[in-house]
Point group: C2
Chain length 190, copies 2
């Protein structure tokens, strides 16, 4: 099982390896920005990186609107593509890996993290940054950082948060679709 | 984007329509049981049904181990296939739909429900039934039923729960893989 990336991803000429967390997040933000510019999905990108070698195992961008599929958030696309590349449902199969994401995972993507085998999550924008542009991120456990750490998964937040927020704002000012499936009247945001 | 079902699904000769919730759950349980028997994934199946016509829009079975992809839980497979069939990220595009699932959704699948557009969820086994065979279902919001209802999504539980539990037990007694990616030592189950 795999999911294709938009053809413009090749034009970004991403390197084989990243230098550090900020470097990885810069590439992820470039992907998110390009996704907004190309109109190929929501303002989100993600990446799976092999910790020991800093090699980029996979990248993902949000493809909900172009692929007409609500589950294709950037994190899910990155996990699917990393699994395909490694031919394993466990992204720890070749040693520890990190999931980079330009915005705090929604309830679905948060739930996907322990199943995936990644041992670290590095995050740009905060949950409230995403909700403030209108996305209903779902009901998350209040103690999600503690919950993930209790499962042996470390969490790093606010990496290039301001730049990550800018991508969200670009999406809104460009008229990007806020693809909530639940009518706003019954929508609760906390 | 689509995901293929195992070839044995065709042999089950599912009808075009279901009669009621119990009827739909019986077919979902037949799928889950066949998935265990065929060794094609975890002991779970799901279905998307169009409420007004009771037509089966899609079915899904857990394909984590055969497709080597941690996100391919039965509910996610059913949502992907329903989106593909309807060519819409919103499964409410042609009127209300219901997600049937043989076991309470894990944290990931719970988070996928509001994005999907389904307006009802009908569930067989309970969360504790799934945890009791060893799966780490993740950290869910305590008030998840209330959270979904607050988003306009109704929840029906314990439909053929005993039969659903039997499928879980068959999986364990047959030596089915418990595909938690997090080492049991750091695993917390609540």
């Amino acid at each position: 099982m795999n999911v294709d990336l938009p053809s413009w991803v090749a034009d970004l000429a991403l390197p084989a390896n990243v230098r550090d967390d900020a470097d990885a997040m810069r590439y992820a933000l470039a992907l998110a920005r390009a996704n907004v510019r190309a109109g190929s999905g929501g303002p989100f990108a993600a990446m799976v990186v092999h910790d020991a070698t800093q090699r980029i195992v996979s990248v993902g961008v949000n493809l909900v609107t172009t692929e007409q599929c609500s589950v294709l958030h950037a994190e899910i696309v990155a996990i699917i593509r990393a699994s395909h590349a490694m031919q394993s449902w466990d992204l720890h199969a070749n040693g520890a890996t990190t999931l980079f994401t330009t915005a705090e995972p929604c309830a679905m993507c948060m739930g996907a993290i322990p199943w995936s085998g990644v041992r670290r999550v590095v995050i740009g924008a905060r949950d409230q940054d995403v909700r403030s542009i209108g996305f209903d991120e779902g009901a998350k456990p209040e103690q999600w950082v503690k919950d993930l750490r209790g499962r042996g998964i470390d969490v790093v937040r606010d990496v290039l948060r301001d730049e990550a927020k800018q991508v969200l704002e670009q999406y809104v000012s460009g008229g990007g679709l806020i693809y909530n499936a639940v009518p706003p009247s019954s929508n609760i945001s906390t």
